[in-house]
Assembly symmetry: C3
Homo-oligomer: 277 residues x 3
């Protein structure tokens, strides 16, 4: 109370070249202004570390990788902070910087990764998902017809093609590990019991490589695969506008009353056809 | 006789925001000039309907979604019609307009969708296919070495990548539901017994969303995924030229004699290696 | 011994329109300067043959399609040869010409295809792989942190998307037939017992089509799917520079001592996590 808030983004230096980053914001890992501020610090450090080669992002909560954007957050926490370095909206800013990092970034997905959670893993380079425990999706259209505004409409079509991207974005449903792999939404679905070891071994292998060679290779791939950054501002503006509109407000009133952002049935089923107000 | 022909494209308004369109041109659902004229009327209506959010296209014939272009049609039916609004060849014109519609379009594929039938579903946003009853392909090269001219050489590489696109286009073989899903040719293969309910529930979900939000999201995805329209004219010109050449004519003479455009063995196996003249 | 070396690239004319090309450089099919010279002759012939429609590339060695670039080759064999016609580095030059051929090229993959072997099959149009006997990958980063320089960083992202491309390129691991199909790295994994017949029937079908129609269709697909050739020179320059650096040299010293380029355990496991020096 009055001091520093508890950290939501915790970095473990497995070695100088391998960072493990744990996301933890109980009870269900929503992502809001504080996480943006902490991501900025992480990015500042990672952009300037010549030894760093690979970062693994994981969640401290096996049921939620990142539930979604913190819809109760008014972003006032950002008032005293410097402006975003990319000129993008604050969340998009950290996602763009994440995607451009000259190190390999890996999301180890276990639990739900919806909305901004899906956009977070799409901004990392590689997505390994628990086969049994992953639910990933862009639930926003089901939440008062809000188009996703944190990068998904730019990143998904390049990753999974037009047809599947439109299904994910407009249908706003959850995808489990198997289906996400079949769609190319994640690289691979790995049996849950093997996921931790699989990702650690992969990252350990990469961590032994020359960071300059990894950076060079990523720069080549970035040039042909990252979205044109001019795509993001209209999308984040539309998201913000609709979040201030009556249709979302009505949904949010009902949803918060029914358990939004608290553990339980509503959050568990947020990307299913049965959740409608 | 002498009156209006029987409609081939029948619209059911499930609700103001959800249209179901049934394709029916017995006996095997070929697609020709009359269907182009009816598609124009459908597109005129859909482009100007502010409530419409989703259209599902399906076939009245469980064995043929669309068999292929009506190869007995001389297009004289189009003589008195206005010119295509996009400046494209008449079939390409309606496919381009279909792809650009500001509503979500879904193909429910059951039965054969070859040639123009494949190009029709590729011009819709989402393809859900019967796992057991789908055969999809671009059979044209097997029909006298005619390169597909209705959009497939532009749309397929963007959807499934260079390697699989060249296999589909040049190999000219049928793909069943499972293989089409593995290739990304369709979004998903759904067990036939579940397909109708699955698609209706998906469309009903989308139909409840704000049509302006759907249109906005689709406009973002369109900008990065639709082909450059300058690709189509040389492809449709090559198709027309080869349809007038001796190699196709010889094939067509044999094929019509052997049962082309009539129910039976030839049409059933049209995209298999065993059909050669 | 003073005469012509034994040919490594052997062409069988199955018919005027169908060439079968067998790759054979015992004991493990490395690919070096001599193969480049022989590929030039093949490409010269193929580019100027109006009847040729399809080429199938296969290996005479069921365990190695192409092991990788011949790391013991100093390229002196190329000293007296004409310069590359595309202005690219010699290996990239033949890969670019291969990708641009106006005929359909098919790789029948059985055994290992690593490094330049993977880049070879990526430069062909279609990849059919033995389900049980394929190991494909870009092992170079595991060999002293050398970024692949023969086209993979340009071709893979367009084929399999950003996430899987970065995993393949940076992770530097082997992919078996099933996983390569799921990633879109190959068109399809075919049971080994069926692969030969499957590919022969596919090629025989295509060989019956009009070569001008195949060339026309490929030209349309090439225009939207081939990499911009300006991407290759920095990649091949980085590869060459790192091959001359201490990190690769140390790896190569250990690897040649441990069995590199000879039949046996090291080459069999070259793209696995257990091979580290």
């Amino acid at each position: 109370m009055g001091g520093e808030p508890v950290a939501q983004i915790n970095i473990t230096h497995e070695s100088p070249s391998f960072w493990r980053v744990s996301l933890e914001n109980p009870p269900i890992n929503v992502f809001g202004a504080q996480a943006v501020v902490e991501m900025r610090a992480l990015l500042d450090a990672a952009e300037n570390d010549d030894e760093l080669t690979v970062i693994v992002f994981e969640s401290a909560n096996p049921d939620y990788f990142i539930a979604h954007w913190d819809l109760a957050d008014d972003l006032s926490r950002l008032a005293g902070e410097p402006p975003p370095v990319t000129g993008q909206q604050p969340f998009v800013d950290v996602m763009v910087r994440l995607s451009r990092l000259p190190v390999l970034t890996v999301s180890k997905i276990r639990g739900r990764a919806r909305g901004a959670g899906s956009e977070f893993v799409l901004a990392t380079d590689i997505r390994f998902a628990s086969r049994e425990r992953t639910l990933i999706g862009q639930f926003e259209m089901g939440a008062g017809s809000v188009p996703p505004g944190g990068g998904a409409p730019a990143r998904l079509p390049r990753l999974v093609g037009r047809g599947r991207a439109l299904e994910i974005l407009v249908g706003a449903e959850d995808f489990d590990g198997d289906l996400a792999e079949r769609y190319g939404y994640v690289n691979r679905a790995v049996p849950d019991a093997e996921l931790d070891q699989f990702v650690t071994e992969f990252a350990t292998r990469v961590a032994a490589f020359d960071p300059a060679a990894v950076a060079e290779m990523k720069s080549w791939v970035d040039a042909t695969t990252l979205p044109d950054e001019s795509e993001f501002p209209p999308q984040s503006a539309a998201f913000a506008e609709r979040l201030g509109g009556p249709r979302y407000q009505s949904w949010a009133d009902h949803a918060f009353a029914a358990g939004l952002q608290r553990p339980g049935d509503l959050e568990e089923r947020l990307g299913t056809r049965s959740v409608e107000f």
